[in-house]
C-alpha cells in the first residue's frame, strides 16, 4: 500500500499552490487513471491522515475516475476499454497497447476560498 505516500504528495502539491495563491483550500480535485496503480479507496482512507497538521487540513478529496482509452489500429479510433483484463478493442477485438488515457494521477483543480482581508 503506497497510497499514503501518494496522498502526501497530493497534499504537498495543494499546499504549494495554496501558498502561492494565498488562498484557503477547501477541496482538492484529483484525476485518477485506472492504470495509475493507485487504489481509490485506500487513497481516500489515507487522506485525513495526510492532511493532518497541514494548512489544508479539513479539505475534501474529490476523485474523478479516468477510464483506460486505447487507440484501435483496426478501427483507427480511440476506444474505452471494457475491462482491465483485456487490452483489446471492445468493437473489433484487435489487441492494442496504444494507451491514450488512464495513467493520470493529477491534481487538476483546487476549491479555494480567498483569505478575507482584515478591515
Amino acid at each position: 500500500m503506497h497510497e499514503l505516500s501518494i496522498a502526501m504528495g497530493i497534499v504537498d502539491a495543494a499546499v504549494e499552490e495554496a501558498k502561492q495563491r494565498g488562498a484557503h483550500v477547501t477541496g482538492v480535485h484529483l484525476r485518477l487513471g485506472a492504470l495509475s496503480g493507485v487504489v481509490k479507496d485506500a487513497l481516500l482512507f489515507s487522506w485525513d491522515v495526510a492532511c493532518q497538521d497541514t494548512m489544508i487540513e479539513g479539505a475534501r478529496l474529490l476523485i474523478e475516475d479516468v477510464p483506460v482509452v486505447v487507440f484501435c489500429p483496426q478501427c483507427r479510433q480511440d476506444r474505452q476499454l471494457e475491462s482491465m483484463q483485456s487490452f483489446t478493442c471492445p468493437e473489433c477485438g484487435t489487441p492494442t497497447m496504444d494507451v491514450r488515457q488512464g495513467k493520470e494521477l493529477e491534481v487538476f483543480a483546487l476549491e479555494v476560498e480567498e483569505e478575507e482581508i482584515p478591515k
Binding site: G9, G27, G37, V39, F87, M97, V107, F108, E114
Partner: protein, 226 residues
Amino acid sequence: MSEPRLVEVRRNVLKQNDVIARALREQFRAAGVFVVSLVSSPGSGKTMFLERTLTRLQPKYRVAALVGDLATENDAVRLARSKAPVRQITTGTVCHLEAAMVQNALQEWDLNQLDFLFIENVGNLVCPSSYDLGENLRLVLMSVTEGEDKPLKYPTIFNSADVAVITKHELAAAVEFDWEAARKSIESVRPGMQIFRLSAKTGEGMESYLDFLGQRLAEHRALAPT
C-alpha cells in the same frame, strides 16, 4: 470568507519522481549501461533468478545490482555470492522503490564501468507500477507455483512491463502448470509482450533469455553511442 471557487492547477502528483527518472535514464544512456528492473510477488524466486543472471552474464559483461528490501540485507548477501557489485536499498516500511532511492544508491558508482545494471524492486505486484525508475527494461517475473491467472489479477504491473519471465520451470509438471493459459493471460493484459520460460535453478531456458539481454544491450548502444 467568500464563496468557494474552483481554480485549475493541473499538477502531476508523481512529477518529482518522473523528473528524477528522466535524469537517471539520460545518465544511463550517456554511460552506455543497460538497466533492467525486476518486479514480482514475494517468493517468486526473484533473488535466485537475479543471482543466476549475474553469474551467467559475468564472463562476458560487467554487471551490478541494486536490491530493494523492506528490512533485511539477506538478498544482498545472497547476491554477493555472484561476486558482482551489489548494493542494498533498505526501504523500511516503503513497499516500492522510487527514482530518488536509486539515484542516492548510485552516487558513488561509476556507471561507465558497467554493461548491465539490475534493479530488484521490493516483492510487490501493486505499488512498484506507479514509479518510473529510469530503467530501460521492466521485467516482470512470475513462477509456475503462482498460478496462470496472476497477470489477470495484477493487470497494471503486467501492462507496465516490457518482458515477462515465467520461472521455476522444473516445478511446472508437479503443479500442472498450464503454459497456454498463462500465455493467454499475459497476452490479454499486455498484448505482444515477449515471454521467457525458464528454470533459474537448473538453467533450462536461461540461454535464450540471456541472449535477449545481450541483444538489447547492443541495440541500446547502437542508439546511444558512447
